[in-house]
C-alpha cells in the first residue's frame, strides 16, 4: 500500500541520465493495483521514458481522472506535482494548468471509462484544442474498481468475468481521435515495453495533444477466455503497423532504413521521429489512408499498434491564442494591472 515506504536501494554501477538522476528518481509510491495489472507495466515504461528523456521532475505535472488508471500518477515521478481530479475531467484541469503555465510538461493518465464514457466530451475537446500534453488511455475494457462492468471500450461480443456478453459496439479511442482531427494518435500494449517507451517519449516531445491508447489487461476482471482485452487475446492479435525511433535534436539519423519504408517527422524542437513501416504502404501522415487501413484491420480482428497518425504541423493551443511566452503565472502584476490613470481615462467614456 502507498503508506508503506518503498525500500530505496543504492546499487553500485547504476546509470545516471544527462541531468545526473537515477532511474529510481523517476519512481513514485508503491502501486496498490493488483499483481500483474497492465497499468503497472505502463507506469514502468513511463519511468523509463522520462529517465531517458532526462526530464527534470519538477517541470512535469501528472494529471488523472478517477479509476484504476487514474491512481497511477502516484506511482511514478514523485518529484512532480500530481492532480487526481474528478471522474472524466482530467483534460479540463490540464487545459487550465497549461493555460496558467505553458512551460509545464503535461502528462495525463486516463482510462477507458474515464475518457470514453464519463469524460468523452473532455477527451474530444483536449484533442480539438491540440493541448500540448501526453494523453494516455490505459484501456482494459472494464470497470475494475466497481467490480467488472463493461466499459464503452469493450468489444461487442466479448464476455465478462460473470459470463455476460457485451451487446454494444465499442468506442475506439484511436479512430475517434483521428476523425476528430488529432495531431498524434498511437496505440500500444502494456506488454510491449520497448514500443511503449518509444511512444511515450514521442508523445511527450510532440508539440500538441498526443493520444496513446494502451491495451492494458485487467488481471482480475478481464483476463479470461472470451475477453478481447486479455493478455492472451492481445498477444494473439497484436499487429504493429509502424515502429518508432526517436532521434534527439542535432543528432544524425544513424539507424539504417530503406527509402520508401520509413518516414521522418521533424518536431518543433529539432528532434525527429523515424517511423518504420511494418506494412508496406502504411503512411502515418495520410489521414484518409490511415482510417481505411485501421478499418480494414479491425474487420480482421487485429489490434493495430504503433504511431498510427501524426501531423506535427497542427498548431497547439497557445499558438492559436498567441499567448505570450512568459507563463501567465509569472507575468509581473505591473504588466497585468492597467493602473489608476488608465481607469480614469476609461471612465471618461462612461459619462
Amino acid at each position: 500500500m502507498s503508506y508503506i515506504k518503498k525500500p530505496r536501494l543504492d546499487l553500485p554501477g547504476q546509470l545516471t541520465n544527462e541531468i545526473g538522476l537515477l532511474k529510481r528518481d523517476y519512481e513514485g509510491a508503491l502501486s496498490t493495483l493488483c499483481a500483474g495489472c497492465g497499468h503497472d507495466s505502463i507506469t514502468a515504461a513511463m519511468v523509463q521514458a522520462l529517465w531517458e528523456l532526462s526530464m527534470p521532475p519538477e517541470k512535469v505535472i501528472k494529471l488523472s481522472g478517477i479509476g484504476c488508471s487514474s491512481k497511477t500518477p502516484a506511482y511514478f515521478l514523485s518529484g512532480a506535482h500530481g492532480f487526481n481530479s474528478v471522474h472524466g475531467r482530467m483534460p479540463s484541469v490540464a487545459v487550465g494548468a497549461h493555460a496558467g503555465n505553458r512551460n509545464l510538461v503535461c502528462v495525463g493518465v486516463s482510462g477507458d471509462g474515464d475518457s470514453l464514457s464519463i469524460g468523452f466530451g473532455q477527451f474530444g475537446h483536449a484533442v480539438r484544442r491540440n493541448l500540448n500534453m501526453l494523453y494516455i488511455i490505459e484501456n482494459n475494457g472494464v470497470y475494475g474498481l466497481t467490480k467488472g462492468q463493461f466499459s464503452a471500450a469493450a468489444d461487442k461480443g466479448s464476455k465478462s468475468k460473470k459470463g455476460d456478453i457485451n451487446q454494444w459496439k465499442n468506442i475506439d479511442a484511436v479512430s475517434t481521435a483521428i476523425s476528430m482531427g488529432s495531431s498524434f494518435v498511437a496505440r500500444s500494449f502494456s506488454g510491449d515495453r520497448d514500443q511503449l517507451v518509444m511512444l511515450i517519449k514521442a508523445g511527450i516531445l510532440h508539440p500538441g495533444c498526443a493520444i496513446v491508447d494502451v491495451v492494458s489487461p485487467c488481471v482480475t476482471f478481464n483476463n479470461h477466455p472470451g475477453s478481447t482485452k486479455s493478455y492472451t487475446y492481445t498477444r494473439d492479435h497484436y499487429h504493429p503497423a509502424s515502429q518508432t525511433d526517436f532521434i534527439p535534436p542535432a543528432s544524425e539519423i544513424k539507424v539504417s532504413y530503406a527509402e520508401g519504408t520509413s518516414i521522418v517527422v521533424e518536431l518543433h524542437d529539432g528532434s525527429k521521429l523515424l517511423l518504420k513501416k511494418a506494412d508496406s504502404g502504411y503512411d502515418a501522415t495520410n489521414r484518409s489512408k490511415v482510417m481505411r487501413y485501421l478499418e480494414h484491420q479491425r474487420a480482421q480482428g487485429e489490434v493495430v499498434t504503433g504511431l498510427l497518425y501524426i501531423n506535427a504541423e497542427l498548431p497547439e493551443m497557445h499558438r492559436i491564442y498567441r499567448t505570450s511566452a512568459t507563463p501567465m503565472k509569472d507575468v509581473p502584476f505591473e504588466k497585468l494591472n492597467p493602473g489608476s490613470d488608465a481607469l480614469a481615462q476609461l471612465q471618461a467614456r462612461m459619462r
Binding site: P57, I61, S92, V95, A97, G121, R322, T323, L343, Q347
Partner: protein
C-alpha cells in the same frame, strides 16, 4: 395631469427586439445623466434574438433612488403587438406616445391618460431612403420627440451623437436629422414641455454609467486575473465579453501582438470549472462567470476545490430558476446553492455586491480572499445588477495595491524546510501553505479529492480524515474575519424593527426606508455583503425584535441561512419576498412590512 414634476419620472419604451432601439435608449439615458440627473436604465427583454417584444425603462429621480418603480409616467409604444398592454400600464395622468402613421383610435381608448400620436414611420420614410436606415432612424426620431416633450438638452444629444459616431460623420448627419424630425414634430403639435420634465441639476462628473458585468470584468483585469474560462450563459456572458474587451485594451504586447491573458470558451460548465482549478493550481489567477445552471454543473469541481483547497473565483450572475427558468429575468435564487454547493460537508465564502461599484471592488477582493483562504469564492450578482445600466460613483484604484497571493512557498522557502507537507496548519488559522508546480521537486505534492491527511498523503483513517475536515472549520472561522462587513443604517429613532437585505434588493429598501419613515415607521437596515456572516450580522439579528428579510426568491433563502448560521429564533425573521423575475420594486418592501405590522397590531 397638471402637477409639474421635475426630474422625477419613469419612462418606458416598448419595441420589438432586434430593431436597434438599444442605442436610442442609451442616448436618452446618457442625456439625462449629463444633465446631472440621477438615472437608471432597466432592460426587459425576451430570451430570443429577433421579433419579440422588449421594453426599456428609465427612471429619473432627483432624490437618487435607483430601485425599479412600478409607475409609468410616459410610455413610448412602438410595438403594435403590445399596444394595448402598454397603454394599460400607464399610470393615470400619464402619457402615451405611439406611431400614428397607422392611427389606432379604437384601441387607444383611455380617458385618464394623454395619447400623443407621432407619425414616426411616415416621417422617416419621407426623409430616409434605405429600408434598414428607416427602421433605425425611427428609434432616433422618438428620442427627438422625448427631447421636446421632456425638455432634454438638445446640445447634449448632439454631442453624444457626435462622440458615438466620431469615425462615421455620415451617421452623425442622419442621426441629427432624425432627432430634429421628432423634435420639431412634437414642438409643432403638442404643448412642450409636459408637466413631467427634465431640468439640469447637480453635477454627475464624479459618476459613471455602467452595468455590473462590465464592472466585474474590469475588476478581474485589475485583480491580475490571467485565465478566464466560461461557457456562454445568459445573463453572465457580458462579464466575459468585458474581460476580453479590457484585456485587448490593456493586456496586449504592442510589439509582439502577444497576449497576457488566456480566455478559454469551454465545452461546458464542468470543463470551465476544471480549467479554473487547473490554472489556479499552477498559480495563475483564474475565474469563471456563469449563472445558476452553470453552478449546478460545476458543483462536483466546487466540492473538489473546497476539499483540496484550490483558490478559485466563481461569478454567479443569478437569473430566474429552477431549471432553465426564465433566463432573461432576475432573481436572488442561488444564495443557498452557492453557500453549500457540492456533496458532503462543504461551505463557501460568498460576496454579495449590490451595484456595479461593488462588482468591481468585490471582483478584486474575491481573488484575494480565494488565495488567502485557498478555497472557492463566489461573487453573487444578478441580471438586474449585471445587465442593467447603473449610475455609480466613479471607480477608484489604489496603485499601491498588490494581490494577496496567500501562503505560497517559493522554491527558496521550500529548500529551507526539512520536508514540505501540503496540509499542515502551522499558523493555527486553518490555512496551510501551498507550493506551485514547476518550481521545486521538494515541494511536489499530490492533489486528490479522495481522503488525504495533513501530510498530503492518501488516507482511509478516520482520525486523519476528521483531523483534516476539522481544520477546514478553523479556516472557516478565519474566513469570518476576512470577508466584508455588512453596511448598517441606523434609524433616526430607537427602534426594535430591523430590515435585512442584500444585493440588488438594496435600492428598494433604501427608498422604502424613507417612505416608511413618512408613515411614522422607523427601522434599522443592515445590508449583508458576505457569507460567512461575521459578528456584526449576528449582533444586528440579536438586537432587533422583528426583522424583515427582504429578498428575491420564493423560499426566503437568506432568511434560512440566517436561521442556520446565527441560531436565532426563526419567528423573529419575517420574509418579504419578490420573485416575479422583475427587479424588486420599492412598493413590495413598503407593502410587505406594513401588511405584517398591521396584522400584528390586530392580533
Amino acid at each position: 395631469m397638471s402637477e409639474i414634476r421635475v426630474n422625477d419620472f419613469v419612462l418606458k419604451i416598448g419595441t420589438v427586439n432586434g430593431t436597434g432601439s438599444a442605442s436610442a435608449n442609451g442616448l436618452l439615458l446618457k442625456a439625462l445623466f449629463r444633465m446631472g440627473i440621477p438615472v437608471t436604465g432597466k432592460n426587459l427583454f425576451p430570451s430570443n434574438i429577433q421579433g419579440l417584444p422588449t421594453w426599456y425603462g428609465i427612471r429619473a429621480s432627483h432624490r437618487g433612488y435607483m430601485a425599479r418603480s412600478k409607475r409609468v409616467d410616459l410610455m413610448v409604444a412602438l410595438n403594435a403587438q403590445t399596444y394595448q398592454k402598454d397603454m394599460d400600464n400607464v399610470t393615470p395622468g400619464g402619457f402615451l406616445v405611439y406611431d400614428s402613421t397607422w392611427p389606432r383610435q379604437r384601441q387607444l381608448n383611455r380617458t385618464d391618460i394623454t395619447v400623443l400620436g407621432v407619425p414616426l414611420a411616415k416621417l422617416c420614410n419621407e426623409n430616409f431612403s434605405d429600408a434598414r436606415v428607416r427602421i433605425l432612424m425611427k428609434n432616433i426620431a422618438y428620442v427627438g420627440v422625448l427631447a421636446a416633450l421632456l425638455d432634454i438638452d438638445t446640445t447634449i444629444l448632439r454631442s453624444l451623437i457626435e462622440e458615438t459616431f466620431a469615425s462615421k460623420p455620415k451617421l452623425v448627419k442622419s442621426n441629427l436629422k432624425a432627432i430634429n424630425l421628432g423634435f420639431n414634430y412634437a414642438k409643432e403639435n403638442f404643448t412642450c414641455p409636459l408637466p413631467i420634465r427634465a431640468e439640469t441639476m447637480g453635477d454627475n462628473s464624479k459618476h459613471i454609467m455602467i452595468d455590473g458585468n462590465s464592472a466585474a470584468g474590469l475588476g478581474c483585469v485589475y485583480a491580475g486575473a490571467t485565465v478566464g474560462a466560461w461557457y456562454p450563459i445568459t445573463p453572465s456572458t457580458g462579464l466575459m465579453d468585458a474581460f476580453k474587451a479590457y484585456c485587448k485594451m490593456f493586456r496586449m504586447d504592442e510589439e509582439t501582438g502577444q497576449k497576457n491573458y488566456v480566455i478559454v470558451q469551454a465545452e461546458d460548465e464542468l470543463a470551465a470549472a476544471g480549467i479554473v482549478l487547473g490554472a489556479n493550481w499552477v498559480g495563475a489567477r483564474a475565474f469563471t462567470p456563469t449563472s445558476g445552471p452553470g453552478i449546478s454543473l460545476m458543483s462536483e469541481f466546487i466540492g473538489f476545490a473546497y476539499y483540496t483547497e484550490i483558490p478559485s473565483v466563481f461569478f454567479d450572475v443569478q437569473r430566474v430558476g429552477p431549471s432553465t427558468g426564465m433566463p432573461t429575468r432576475t432573481q436572488q435564487c442561488d444564495i443557498m446553492l452557492c453557500a453549500y454547493a457540492s456533496h458532503g460537508d462543504t461551505q463557501h465564502p460568498m460576496l454579495l455586491p449590490a451595484n456595479p461599484y461593488e462588482c468591481f471592488e468585490m471582483a478584486v477582493s474575491a481573488f484575494d480572499l480565494a488565495e488567502r483562504l485557498q478555497t472557492p469564492v463566489f461573487v453573487l450578482s444578478d441580471l438586474d445588477i449585471g445587465m442593467n445600466d447603473w449610475m455609480i460613483p466613479e471607480l477608484k484604484w489604489d496603485d499601491s495595491y498588490r494581490p494577496d497571493r496567500g501562503k505560497v512557498l517559493t522554491s527558496e522557502d521550500v529548500e529551507k524546510l526539512e520536508k514540505f507537507y501540503r496540509y499542515l496548519d502551522v499558523d493555527g488559522d486553518g490555512i496551510a501553505a501551498r507550493t506551485l508546480p514547476g518550481e521545486n521537486a521538494k515541494g511536489a505534492y499530490f492533489v486528490r479529492g479522495s481522503g488525504h491527511n495533513k501530510h498530503g498523503m492518501y488516507t482511509e483513517s478516520s482520525e486523519e480524515y476528521k483531523d483534516l475536515v476539522d481544520r477546514l472549520l478553523v479556516k472557516w472561522k478565519t474566513a469570518r474575519t476576512l470577508v466584508p462587513k455588512p453596511v448598517v443604517m441606523q434609524a433616526e429613532q430607537q427602534t426594535s424593527i430591523g430590515i435585512i437585505a442584500y444585493g440588488s434588493s438594496d435600492g428598494a429598501v433604501i427608498e422604502a426606508l424613507d417612505e416608511l419613515r413618512e408613515k411614522g415607521l422607523h427601522a434599522d437596515y443592515m445590508r449583508v455583503r458576505a457569507f460567512p456572516f461575521n459578528g456584526e450580522v449576528t449582533r444586528f439579528v440579536e438586537k432587533h425584535e422583528t426583522i424583515f428579510v427582504v429578498e428575491q426568491n420564493r423560499d426566503a433563502q437568506l432568511r434560512s441561512l440566517l436561521i442556520l448560521e446565527t441560531n436565532t429564533d426563526a419567528r423573529k425573521l419575517v420574509p418579504v419576498l419578490h420573485y416575479s423575475g422583475m427587479p424588486m420594486p420599492t412598493s413590495c418592501v413598503v407593502e410587505g412590512i406594513c401588511e405584517h405590522l398591521s396584522v400584528k397590531d390586530v392580533a
